[in-house]
């Protein structure tokens, strides 16, 4: 069976198939999100839900690249920073604080920002596409740090103060007095991005991409251009990340090198990993968890001298990330799968639907026993793949 057919088979019955229960859950979540501004107070809507939605878009670009392309990219935050900085520089800024302040209209700025970010994504993808696994991770981290230092050093475009008071289109308006419009914009973008990615992975390109992920050598011998597929997937990821970058500038009204530093790079990685790198929905789940931890940790952290206090948010996030990578590399969704497997094992096994991870792994990792007893399951999209 060729890698393409493998991926196609996985597509029909595999992890992407949405069950009836899944649709019901999706419908409930959808309704709650639609009426959220009516049931939550405005602080929750603006600070937690809106932030979670745009962070989820940034994280889903990483989840997509890992799940369908086998690429763990650390450059996603850098790319959304490029989009944000490109837009912030060309549109009108209120007090002309930092940036070029060319006075373009906001929507023209959006188009420019996304365009520049996609071009940068194409370049970065072309550079990194011939590297795999840990090399890919390293090269994308280096690219990400290059972007951070670029905007830190080039005072014409940013400097360390960044670009402030970036004007927003009338559709978004003033988020301090009216946070709801930006919430719906973020929600709409999230749904559109999710639909786009679900669609792309079903196209011939998406299926070939999964073949490339599973067995690049075989795909090459079948005549596919492997680096080109990876580059284009990376560019699509850059497009998604760029949308998050635009939304982040509207949310913060400013962008500075500090908003794309290594802590933020890792925050987006953490969101993707918390949610589980094996499903696209996980990105938003992780983003909500992150935003909630962010909110409560800043208020309720006990003080242990210099080691731990409300100002040590990065330490808390680092420890949470460390625990997740150590204990459950599949994130929250992975924990759900583990519980389901444990229940299935206890009550006869056959009744429970096998967790998606083992189905996905069945193609290539047949030698790994698919028994529920393996402590670390061979999840395709997870982090615990052993090197071939």
């Amino acid at each position: 069976m060729s890698a393409v057919a493998n991926a196609a088979a996985a597509k029909r019955s595999g992890p992407d198939a949405v069950t009836i229960g899944g649709w019901a859950l999706l419908a409930v979540v959808g309704v709650v999100l639609l009426i959220a501004p009516a049931i939550f107070d405005s602080y929750w809507v603006s600070q937690i839900l809106t932030q979670a939605l745009w962070l989820g878009i940034a994280a889903v670009s990483l989840t997509f690249l890992n799940r369908y392309g086998g690429m763990v990219s650390l450059a996603q935050v850098a790319i959304y920073g490029v989009a944000g900085f490109a837009m912030a520089n060309v549109v009108h800024t209120l007090n002309s604080e930092g940036g070029l302040n060319l006075g373009w209209t906001p929507w023209l700025g959006v188009a420019f920002g996304i365009g520049v970010a996609v071009l940068v994504g194409l370049l970065f993808g072309a550079i990194a596409s011939r590297s795999y696994g840990i090399y890919f991770l390293m090269i994308t981290l280096a690219l990400s740090l290059f972007v951070f230092y670029f905007f830190g050093q080039v005072t014409q475009l940013s400097g360390f103060g960044g670009v402030r008071s970036v004007s927003r289109p009338g559709l978004v308006g003033d988020t301090i007095t009216h946070p709801t419009p930006l919430y719906y914009v973020c929600l709409g973008c999230s749904v559109a991005v999710y639909a786009l990615l679900r669609y792309v992975v079903r196209t011939p390109f998406g299926v070939a991409l999964q073949g490339v992920r599973d067995d690049p050598e075989r795909m090459r011998s079948l005549g596919y251009n492997v680096p080109l597929h990876r580059t284009l997937a990376f560019t699509l990821g850059a497009f998604v990340a760029a949308i998050a970058g635009i939304l982040s500038v509207w949310f913060d009204t400013q962008i500075s090198p500090g908003s794309i530093d290594i802590t933020q790079t890792i925050a987006v990685l953490i969101i993707a990993v918390i949610g589980g790198l094996s499903r696209l929905e996980g990105a938003w789940l992780g983003a909500i968890a992150y935003a909630v931890i962010n909110y409560y940790a800043r208020q309720h952290t006990p003080t242990l001298g210099l080691w731990l206090n409300p100002g040590r948010f990065a330490t808390i996030i680092g420890i949470v990330f460390l625990l997740i990578v150590l204990l459950s590399p599949d994130g929250l969704i992975g924990i759900g799968g583990k519980i389901r497997r444990a229940i299935g094992r206890r009550y006869g096994g056959g009744g429970a639907r096998p967790a998606e991870s083992e189905e996905a792994g069945a193609g290539e990792q047949a030698e790994v026993p698919a028994a529920a007893g393996t402590p670390a399951s061979g999840t395709r999209g997870g982090l615990n793949q052993r090197r071939a």
């Binding site: 696994g133 981290l141 280096a142 740090l145 040590r312 990065a314 420890i319 460390l322 615990n384």
Partner: protein, 342 residues
């Protein structure tokens, strides 16, 4: 068409390389002494990068662990030496006292240096034993674990040492600069750091090529399973290599903290530098680390001075020069100059 697609990047790179060399030759002809000074800046910077990257590449070469916490170990080493020096040798009551400190003897420099180097070695060993030993072979997961550790370290160092930029003092009895030809150049940079890098390079070469430990390491790089089957305690070798690699990061932190400074953010900067060096030179290769460090040091040094074109000052864009260097190497050799497939 295909030939153009394949050879196009190489032609562009060759033209670019020739242009850079011609530009530097013109600059050298215009101001010989400045050019020599800028070159020395680059070489001494490269020496520091080599010490950082040698530990990074040693750990990777043997264990396939990309230690993303290497920059944190570097900075922590610098802080440890600084705190040890201010507490033990300058009689200061506060951790960060302002103004010139007392006389620092030779011991006042070397005891903190040895202390910090050794403690960082132990910290690295602890990280390896606690977090990395039991998931050998899952390289992506190990990289993420070390990233998490680096975030915690960075935040804790800000909490404990604050945001002030400090520097470790070299012994007062050492000259501050020496005469090279027609200009004076900092003694510490050109003698101590460059000498330390050369000495470390030589010692590592002898260790890897001439000792039993080195023989085991080289065998482990090629085939760990076979080495283990031959009865060698591979875990002990791994622990030893991680200890040495971390010690090099700590030592570089002390040297860098004396030559430049210790302060927040340097962990990220030196992680990037180590990454660039090994991406250029090839992961796991010591000669590659030396060449990569030299290339990066020179490019950074030249680009901060010579990116003036008439009245146009492009030195702000110096970071792009390092970026182009990485692209150029990766376009021709995706695994770096001395890299080889795993």
């Amino acid at each position: 068409m295909r030939v153009v697609a394949r050879e196009g990047p190489r032609v562009v790179l060759a033209v670019l390389g020739v242009a850079v060399v011609v530009w530097l030759v013109i600059k050298a002809a215009q101001g010989g002494s400045t050019f020599l000074q800028v070159t020395l800046n680059g070489i001494t910077l490269a020496a520091l990068y080599f010490v950082v990257a040698a530990g990074f590449t040693l750990i990777f070469g043997l264990m396939r662990v990309v230690n993303m916490a290497h920059g944190s170990l570097y900075l922590f080493g610098g802080y440890l030496a600084y705190v040890a020096q201010t507490h033990w040798y300058s009689g200061g009551t506060s951790q960060f006292q302002l103004g010139p400190t007392n006389n620092i003897g030779v011991m006042g420099f070397f005891v903190p240096l040895v202390f910090a180097t050794f403690v960082i070695g132990l910290v690295g060993l602890g990280i390896q034993q606690l977090f990395l030993r039991w998931n050998q072979g899952q390289d992506l997961r190990q990289a993420l674990i070390t990233i998490a550790i680096s975030v915690i370290f960075a935040d804790q160092m800000i909490a404990h040492y604050g945001g002030v930029v400090e520097s470790i003092q070299a012994p007062t009895s050492w000259p501050s600069s020496i005469l090279i030809g027609s200009f004076r150049y900092p003694f510490f940079r050109v003698v101590v750091v460059l000498g330390a890098a050369l000495l470390i390079g030589l010692l590592l070469f002898l260790l890897i090529r001439r000792t039993l430990f080195g023989m085991i390491v080289r065998a482990g790089v090629d085939d760990r399973a076979m080495l283990s089957a031959l009865g060698v305690n591979v875990q002990l070798v791994f622990a030893g290599a991680f200890f040495i690699g971390a010690m090099l990061a700590g030592l570089a932190g002390v040297l860098g903290g004396t030559m430049i400074s210790v302060g927040p953010g340097l962990d990220t900067q030196f992680l990037l530098d180590a990454l660039i060096v090994v991406i250029i030179g090839g992961m796991g290769s010591l000669p590659g680390a030396a060449i990569g460090a030299l290339a990066l040091g020179l490019v950074q040094s030249y680009s901060t001075i010579y990116l003036h074109f008439g009245s146009v000052n492009l030195t702000n864009y110096g970071i792009l020069a390092s970026f182009v260097l990485v692209i150029a190497v990766l376009a021709v050799r995706p695994l770096g100059l001395f890299g080889r497939p795993a």
